[in-house]
Amino acid sequence: MSYGELRHINVSYDKKNFVLQDLSLDIHEGELLSLLGPSGCGKTTTLRVIAGLIDPVGGTFELDGTDMTHVQVHKRNFGMVFQSYALFPHLTVFDNIAFGLKLRNVEEAAIRKQVGKIMEICGIEGFEKRFPKQLSGGQRQRVALARALVIEPKLLLLDEPLSNLDAQLRLQMRTSIKRIQQELGISSVFVTHDQEECFSISDQVAIMQNGKIEQCDSPEQIYSHPASEMVARFVGFRNFFTVEQAVGLHIVAGNFDKMATMMCIRPEDIVLGDKTFSVSMPGTVEVRTYLGKAYQYEVKTPLGMVTVASSEDTVYAVGATVGLGFPREKLVFLN
């Protein structure tokens, strides 16, 4: 049994169109779960349902064996980091972080101790007396994180926390977030639309589309075994064929799941050789682009256009006839 369980959650604002539809999700204790998907897929809505900021029209949410579905936001004790950080502009950094503790009537001395400790963990010592407007983007981010963590939340929720930072800072912050999350062992839900960011810090990834979860697995599993065409495209598969086509062209024999209808392969997993290449399918190079580490070819084959990335020494010219090999272990079958 998992730590947090969303079961059959439905969210609708007008009772006709569903933003979330029959969504179920497990949150494992101490792990970081990412919700990944294009904008409008419902990932932020899911996070807000967990936070209690949106009431689902149906379904349940249990945490640690307690039903949280109808618990009000302020009684949930979840820490949340907002995309805009939502720091209180009229309060100093210290007062921002101490906000939650003061509401819990923690003693003055204890507040100072806890705030000091969390500021150290988040790397913002010395900024106590500043106002949010006097901080850089990364510092604000850390204050927002500290403010959410100091109340010792049962769950940490992060809504695209890195999207307002520049590329370099984003890289640095995501490492910090992962380190702090592991250090405190806090169960977290992280919303993002950035695939690389997501895979690098998550223990579990839920890929969402149109208010549904397409696949929820470890990053490695999703990367190597996408469960649907959408997920496969999302994680870098470019070449899709029907199984029927592939069998017809002798790319695969009968030793695979008979339910599968589609198969796919990444550009870099296709083996490229000249036309004498043995286990191959012939094709003609139509477009060649240079990617730095490799060349990418658009090859015209009996399967249609196939995208191949090759880092081999041999470079093929446009118009050249080549042979393509599809290694069995790299082919992914989709139902």
Binding site: G52, V73, H74, K75, L87, K133, G137, R147
Partner: protein, 266 residues
């Protein structure tokens, strides 16, 4: 950047046109001559003393201050309440209501004064001081609603949500995290309301009565019968008051700008 000489000339003539009349008033208010004339005869504060000797001016000054204070205070409280509703629940009704709240600044003041007089005083027979406060409330309504609404829209919606997630009950979240950030807007709204109520003539003019005159209209009466620098002296004092309000407002506005920038996470 290149500026044509003509542009410079027009600009400076324009500044002179705007500022010289006001400077003239200031200068003549300290002049001892008993009409407004140049060259200056000598320094004197007698006109300032005369302002305070005139019972009608002092009484109407008091009336205007009280009226402006009361209507601006009530105005920003109601303005805050309305703005919360309009911003937090946008929609067709809110859009229509907003344009109604702003309409007193589009309809000619004299028309508002007249219809108020006709309805409140002639038809309903309300006491004048009540009618006057209602009228001035109507005058300040657009300013408080416009300024507070704009500021409220600028404040990050997540602030309240952040307070909730940190354990703040919904009834207190607005007071604790939104209201403090609205303070500069409330101050600006108050000052603009105050100035507009204090300077209003058309509404006050219709709703005045025995002992219920306001300063601008008393000044108009004074000018009709006495053409001496008393009004200059009074004007200088009013300009001083305006200046103080302006500086205070500028200060609160710039503070607000900084804060709203912070709220947007720039």
């Amino acid at each position: 950047m290149y500026k044509h000489r003509l542009v410079t000339i027009v600009a400076w003539l324009c500044f002179a046109f705007i500022f010289l009349p006001l400077i003239l008033i200031v200068v003549t208010s300290f002049n001892s001559a008993d009409s407004i004339s140049l060259p200056l005869e000598g320094f004197s504060l007698q006109w300032f003393v005369k302002v305070f000797r005139s019972r009608s001016l002092v009484q109407s000054l008091k009336n205007s201050l009280v009226l402006a204070l009361v209507s601006s205070t009530i105005g920003i409280v109601f303005g805050l309440l309305s703005s919360i509703a309009l911003v937090k629940r946008p929609g067709k009704i809110s859009t229509i209501l907003l344009s109604i709240f702003l309409s007193p600044s589009l309809i000619p003041g004299i028309v508002i004064g007249y219809v108020l007089f006709h309805f409140l005083v002639v038809s309903l027979q309300l006491p004048l001081n009540l009618a006057l406060i209602l009228g001035h409330l109507l005058v300040v309504m657009p300013y408080s609603v416009r300024i507070i609404c704009a500021s409220l829209k600028d404040i990050d919606e997540s602030l309240e949500e952040a307070a909730l997630t940190l354990g703040c009950p919904p009834s207190r979240a607005f007071m604790k995290v939104v209201l403090p950030n609205l303070r500069p807007a409330m101050i600006s709204a108050f000052m603009l309301s105050f100035i507009n109520s204090f300077n209003n003539i058309p509404v006050s003019m219709y709703l005045k009565g025995p002992g219920m005159n306001t300063l601008p209209y008393a000044m108009m009466n004074h000018i009709e019968y006495n053409y001496d620098p008393t009004v200059s002296a009074l004007s200088v004092m009013l300009m001083g008051l305006t200046l103080v309000l302006m500086i205070a407002m500028d200060w609160s506005m710039s503070a607000q700008r900084l804060k709203s920038k912070a709220a947007q996470g720039e």
